[in-house]
Amino acid sequence: MRRTRVALILAACTMVATGCGSAGGGKDTGSGPASGQITVWDYYGEATPLKKSIARFTKTHPDIKVKYQAFDYDTTHDKFAVATSSGDAPDLATVDMTWIPSFAANGLLSDLTPLSGGKLNGTDMKSQYTAGANEAMQYQGKQVATLYDFDAYALYYRKDILARKGIAVPKTWDDLVTASNQMAERPSPGAKPTRYGLQVLPDTFHYSQLLFQNGGSILDSDGKKAAFNSDAGVEALDYMHGLIKDGGGLYWADPNNTVAGVKDQQIGMFVNGPYMMGQLKSGAPEQAGKWAVAPAPYNKQPGSYLGGTGLVVPTGAKNPRAAWELMQFLLKPAQQQLVYTEAGAAPATSAALELPALSKPDPYFGGQAPFGVFKDAMSTATHFPYVESWGDIDKSLTDAVTSVLLDKSSSKDALDKAAETTDSKLGN
């Protein structure tokens, strides 16, 4: 507690001492090759591919000196805002794409177009990403980020258990209820599965996938009003609840505990993003060859939330041209490959997704090449709405989903309540 208070006070003090205003300026708009020093902030964690890439970059770009600083996820979020608003921004940072709306709305992210001229490593920027990714990198018509790795959901399943029990890989919502029910093992009929359950995480990420698959959307087309409490939204949440009630769904409160559940065989199926490939391999190596990945079962249409890690140049970056040089370098296929080989996550550029290293059979997944599945998932994925109050909306939706999954509320009531909060946060 005391530490938190001190951190808050320090952060507050820093903001005040430095004037709190949104900083601009300091931009090197010169011509010729970029040079000088740049500071990079990275939230990626121990398995970061950035370190290796930066070492390569400094060899090919001896005139640019890179100061690399690693922070954890929460620290990066808070520190980025405080430092950028006080003129002490890094030149390049990795950010979670869900942070983009609040950062961009507060003018913390540079428009990359003047630096890029619409090109990435000499080729048209738009052609190097899927349509959904291109849209995710824009905020109010300006490109404020490039996508470094992506997150879109597919179904992970224990193929050895499905095969042993003679269950077909589920393709539709109904299939998933039946398959998960057949797969799960319970101490008594109707009891909670103790082995091979389908993980059901009570969060906006997973609910929104079902919402999108059912033809719904989070906000209306103007982004001014909640739309998730539509019939499609209520049906999606009822279905999510039904996975636990009628299927082999296992309510799972802590997403960070997934690998532990996999290791002790409580979880036999889960829906998640490509980063889980790396986590499974490092966390449950003894289950090599037992897992496979399939497209997430859907109702009306395929769909997923689209997120991932973005690369941004904060406003007030001292050396944006050199930062852009590094950003382009990080998005070259050879560096993007490191996202997979170092972190087990999914590189975002289309060229990287075609790399042979990513399409070769993976022994952990029984010789399957799971990247193709995630690549397809990305092509139909949608990013969360880019509204400044997204954090509050996300929280109210998560609470709605949790209350339904815990039998505390009906889907309609919970979503209507969350919609009320959402509308008030959107200024209605």
Binding site: M1, T4, V6, L8, A12, V16, G21, K408
Partner: protein
Amino acid sequence: MTSVPLRRPRRPRARRGSGRTDKVGYALVAPAMVLTTVFFFVPMVLSLYWSFNDYNGLQPPQWVGAANYTDLARDPSFRHAVKNTVVFTLVTMIIGPALGLGSALLLNRNIPVRGFFRSVFFLPVTLSLVVVGTLWKTVLAENGLFNHGLALLGISGRAWLDDPSTSLAAVSLASIWQGFGFETVIFLAALQTISQDLYEAARMDGAGRFQSFLAVTLPSLRPTMFFVYVVGVIGAFQAFDQMYVMTSGGPLESTTTVVFYLVQRFQAFDLGHASAAAYLLVVVLAVVSAVQLRLSKRLS
């Protein structure tokens, strides 16, 4: 017999240090003064100002008067946080000191390996709340030690931290376990200062053990209890770490305390409401401490 006029003994004059000594003193305290002013008093004043502003820390503040405070009064999440904080404080402050006193009374006797038990009771106090939170999160998990213990008794457990009806109790349990060793040590020290003459006198008056406890022990411990309750209540009102580690304030805000709420507002760049919540907490703590002080004076 000559009477000696009573004279007030002259107070020895405070030796005034030389100017040089004063300067050295000021120089020595200056770093601490500057740091305290910059990192404590200035932010305190500033956050009071922010509590009357719509301020995200990134754009200039906009004066909104008392709107942040009225928003908090209307915000169900804040009201929920206040309720949770009060319940958490009551539970931990009723059970914690009672356990502390009970164990202190046991340890105050001549029992074998008393030193060992004293160390064992105090050990959790030396652990960080993050460590304690992580430990209890594992113990209270659905497949955790606690439920295995219950299963041996034929009782089926549940995911204590994932259920809104049990999560606050589970977090309170961890907090009590971590904190009551401190109360044990404080009560033990106080018990050892109580004169045996008082117990002897009580015994001669025919008081039994329980009556001695009521008539001698409890009144003698009153100043210590006041200390334990003031410090404990302030600590309980500021609870954050264990909720952060064990439940992230959930499920369904069932373990969101006022400080947790405040931090969430801060992370959402809503410094106006975060500051207002912080000041409401300060006011509540000041009132509660004043009431405790008055009660303590009246009782003594």
